[in-house]
């Protein structure tokens, strides 16, 4: 599966969170990072090129700071220009059908403010309705957004967990499933390089971790089987 991240940020160099996310995936060959403001500093979009990029990928992600409950202006302009009739909708406009569409939102205030009764008063699901409508109209499957609240206040450990969750959001078929996460993790562990860990027994520990992940999965499946049996 190939993922296209369409990134929009007017001053990306100053954004710690965006830099962090870019670094997280810069060596993944199945992920294309596409920064609109860098590609089109004059705002003139090459529509054919953008449509071709869309065609070459299976999962399309819009990644942006959630300014005034919407995207930066260039991303809106990109939608106006690129998602044209006969391509994205209308007669023979089925080029995006079957693809997946997700959002990575960088949000400056805390998560609780986006609950009903919170300071913002509306939920992310409500405020992202226009993007959900785009997915519906273009025949794409809308993914649950990946929202990052108050990045700057996160602890180092939280940032590390975020890094992995973000990689999984971009590459996992079902990012919410524990089983899918296990399979992803096993693959990463099997490909781990040891030259950056100065611990002799590191390969042994990793082997043990792999066995435990696999054994636990067997046990979980077996437990589920028994439960289903008694549920009948």
């Amino acid at each position: 599966m190939k993922t296209l991240v369409i990134l929009s940020h007017p001053s990306i160099g100053e954004s710690g969170s965006q830099q962090f996310l870019i670094q997280s995936v810069n060596d993944h060959n199945h992920v294309t990072l596409h920064h609109l403001e860098r590609e089109y500093p004059d705002g003139i979009i090459d529509v054919k090129k953008e449509q071709n990029l869309l065609l070459q990928h299976d999962r399309i992600i819009f990644q942006f700071p959630f300014y005034w409950y919407s995207s930066p202006p260039l991303l809106k302009h990109w939608q106006d220009e690129v998602l044209t009739e006969h391509f994205a909708y209308g007669y023979r406009g089925d080029k995006l059908h079957g693809k997946e569409f997700g959002l990575v939102l960088i949000i400056g205030v805390g998560e609780k403010e986006y609950e009903s009764g919170g300071q913002e008063g509306f939920s992310i699901s409500e405020l992202t309705k226009p993007f959900q409508a785009v997915a519906k109209k273009t025949g794409m499957t809308y993914l649950k957004p990946f929202s990052i609240f108050q990045f700057a206040y996160k602890t180092e450990e939280e940032k590390m967990e975020l890094l992995i969750a973000y990689q999984q959001y971009l590459s996992l078929k079902e990012a919410d499933s524990l089983k899918a996460k296990e399979e992803w993790m096993l693959k990463q562990l099997e490909e781990l390089s040891y030259d950056k860990i100065p611990v002799d027994e590191a390969p042994f520990i990793i082997d043990e971790a792999i066995s435990m992940l696999e054994d636990n999965r067997l046990e979980l499946d077996e437990l589920r089987l028994h439960i289903d049996h008694y549920a009948d």
Partner: protein, 60 residues
């Protein structure tokens, strides 16, 4: 349980010693994933116990 604790400790050690940020993140998440599996196992065992003790299934 003992081997889980041992493994968690060893993974923490690798997180500390690794010189690569992304690798540290991966090792930390491996630990968290194992802990999540352990939690699910406990939950499912509890659910299974509950079902075995459910009067509804005693009639069989």
């Amino acid at each position: 349980m003992e081997s889980v604790e041992w493994l968690v400790e060893q993974l923490d050690k690798l997180v500390k010693e690794s010189r690569d940020y992304k690798q540290k993140a991966l090792l930390l998440s491996t630990k968290k994933l194992i802990q999540e599996q352990e939690k699910r196992k406990e939950q499912l065992s509890g659910e299974l116990d509950g079902r075995l003790w459910s009067p509804g299934s005693w009639r069989e």
